[in-house]
Amino acid sequence: MHPFAYVAPGTIDEAVAVLNEHGDRARPMAGGTDLIVKARANAWELDAVVDIKNIPELMSLSDNGDGLSIGAGVPCYQVYGNSDIAAGYPGIIDGASIIGGIQIQSRAGLGGNLCNAAPSADGICPLIVHSAVAKITNASGTREVAVEDFCTGPSQTVLNTGDLLVSIEVPKPAANSGAAYTRFTPRNEMDIAVAGVGVMVVLDSSGQNFESARIALSAVGPTPILASAAGDSLAGKPVNDETIAAAAALARDAASPITDMRGTVEQRKQLVEVLTGRMINKAVERARG
């Protein structure tokens, strides 16, 4: 492992200054569960590691009534361990509670999961279907990027030199809405998605018709995928096996997986279709309360 400076600034400005100084040879560190592994494997050769856990804004988790704000350094356990958040955002909890095991969840958070930009990330699809936005800051100001636009390739994001993810802003879910995420793994824990599907549905007041839906897919493309056609196909349609199957088939079409050690193209496409159907049903169940 290349020797690096460990910096633990207390403010966003100090953190951004260090990131600017070292360019792409510096990385922010939240839980470190991806960063340290990559540095040890010499996948990243770093001169500075910027620990963000002393920066109050990046460690704050709040639900102000209009939505949820998740600081970039907040570990998963704080998210799923908060009973209000768990009740209000069960789809996000579905993802946050299966990233690694308990030890990993005690350090790793959704911010790091997003910045690591793994196609198989379990934390990202739930954020996408919730229409969450990433709040990014740098020396010249702050900007917001929709989470579905954040990842640009495996381990690639919209973050430029000197950019720091501050928080993930999740809007308050609409009335009669429900969200869910699942992944397929051969094992029951400590595994990585062969394919994953997140779904958010908004039903009309009768609970019998879809008003709108968002569907996102993991591990079946170079980035998590927002399957817009699949979600949009449900808008205005009744909740029944036929409309759900049609959306699941469109989700399958949106997947562009590869064959590798974790699964084959055909297996992954089938999994997307199966899991999409299951997650729409689960989201509907949650929407109906």
Partner: protein, 756 residues
Amino acid sequence: MVATYDAKTDYKVIGSTPIRHDGMDKVTGRAIFGADVKAPGLIWGDLLRSPHAHARIKSIDTSTAEAMDGVFAVLTHADFPQADDKSIDAGEGTVNLRRGQTNVMADGKVHYKGHVVAAVAATDRNTAREAARLIKVDYEVLPAISDVDTAMAAGAPAILDGLVGDHLGQKVENTNVARVFRHEFGDVDDAFANSDLVIERTVSMSMVHQGYIEPHNATAIWAQDGNLTVWSSTQGSFGVRSQTAGLLHIPESKIKVNYVEIGGGFGGKTVAYLAPVAALLSRKSGGRPVKLVMDRQSVFEASGPAPGGKIRMKIGVNKDGKITAADTDLILEAGGYPGSAVGAAATCVFACYNLPSSRITGYDVLVNKPKSAAYRAPGSPQASFAIETVIDEICDACGFDKIQFRLDNAAHEGTRRGDGVQFARVGLEECLTAAKESDHWNSPLGDAPAGKSRGRGLATAYWMNGGGKSTCDLMLQDDGTVMMNEGSADIGGTRTSIAMQAAEVLGIPVEDFHPSIPDTDSIGFTGVTGGSRTTYTTGMAAYNAAHKLITELQHRVADLWETEVDNVSFADGTFSANGDSIGIQNLAGKLDPTGGPATATASVNLAEAGNAYGVHICDVEVDLATGKTDVVRYTAIQDVGKAVHPQYAEGQIQGGAAQGIGWALNEEYFINSAGEMANRSFLDYRMPTPLDLPMIDTIMVEVPNPLHPYGVRGVGEVPICPPLSAATQAVKNAVGKPFYELPVKPGRILEAQNGI
């Protein structure tokens, strides 16, 4: 002539479940493992490994690494002395010294990705690692051979320079097939021609790894007086000593190997990968202590997994339910050097059946993967998968009851194994009967939820168990406790299971024993903990030492009481003579006038071991839409001879079954087009976790081994064998399609279902 014993039943210690002597240190973290070893002036080594699966080394430039601050030594194969071209026993397999030396550090050619090319010693681990990256190696990359078909194809490039294959006695050059051998009896072809049904299938499987939690490690000090001291995680300190001596061409007497606790081995820690390298680094660093610890990637890529390969299996049967003949080709991957477990596979493959004729042909085939090593009943799981797959099809095709058919054809006392050995008393029939009567076999599968389907599989398997050499010393202390030294690395609670056998003889509570596993200078030779030999063989040494101690104490009592030794009797921990009696622990403090401390030592070399059989029943539930398999019920039935410590015996059976289930359903070396293991981490090498397994129920059948005074049989290895087929046949039963390739992973189940 092998001594035989009558079965006993009235035990005081044998069959009880005392707390293990090393338990507190292990659960509180005080136990010293190899990576915990510290020594004054310790420096760290690191290894440069080949990024290619097959390549010639054109040149190695170590100058930049040598010039780096903090670097003490850089090593290549040129630093090794010439090793003898001979094979030595490594406990569960042999090591050819010259090839073993090039396996621990490549000489001109790399045979697999991760093959060590150079080594560095430096002030700390990170400096060593960075220095290793500065070594420049110029490779001529060669095509990687990743499977036995490619390796055996005409014109395939030979992996091992100079290998002369022995093909049924013919010498063959320029080959990747190191050995072809055959065991045959009866007229197999005629028997097939006269059979009512003959089924022939070819099965295949990938390499799998033992997956021990603790990576390989070694610390060595090569002192200026030429004496070498080693600490290394191993299943046998004497094996590390002999391999290190052989690879470095020095006398064994110059080496002392210290015992450290071991975090799992399963056969994989019988090979000394690091100790010889750490030793040379120490010598080149002026005698400083040098420590080497593998990372997980290196453990996967460059320590010895179990062979994959292909097995052709042909079995004939008559309408009356009797097998007529069996014929198999066992083609196993040796890895980058000769020496797969195909020999043991041939021993085990037909050992569950009493066959009128059989032919076994074994092939030991080199591929560009790590040199395979022993893994729990080496060769038997693969062989069991092949034969039990075909037996299951025969039963389905003919409507035979799967247990009754096996009972009708079961090996028993007097049966000859496929390689000719004749069985003494064995317990397969008793295991099958226990399976037939079990609650599991007599319970319905139960209903699966919508979209899922359940299935049940059953399979049998065999392991011959091991004997060999072991030593045990007993020293009675003044306070009535017993210090016990024995030479077996303790992987599964053997300190206690060995002490219990001496305790039974002496009539002293096993809690009053203090077992130690000393260094190789301080105990007589003891073979590796492997082959399911330890509780049987080292236990026999303890039993013999205890009897010697009794004899010694009878003389002391005779001295004390001024009587003839023949008048002193011993029973239930008490010496008696002429109406007087004294308990052994009371006697202990009164020995000074009789000559001081009482000690006894015993060594054994056991030629035979007694055999182990297992019968497993597996229920699975398969999600038909995703191919996900959950094991929902599992029962392992095994002849344990006599369970010395029933909880440990059960733990061995459960652990073996867990590993076998992983092998069946998900574990594999996934080799990519570059010949690399793509899934070289525990994240992607999918061993089952606790959430992936049900409670594994055990039924321990006790058919006493006539070769052991307490009837002990080895228990640790055979339980890994039956799950490969039991789980696979359960999936077949659930989805209605057969599977001939392991692992039966979700993608394969979907393929079989949908033709995708």
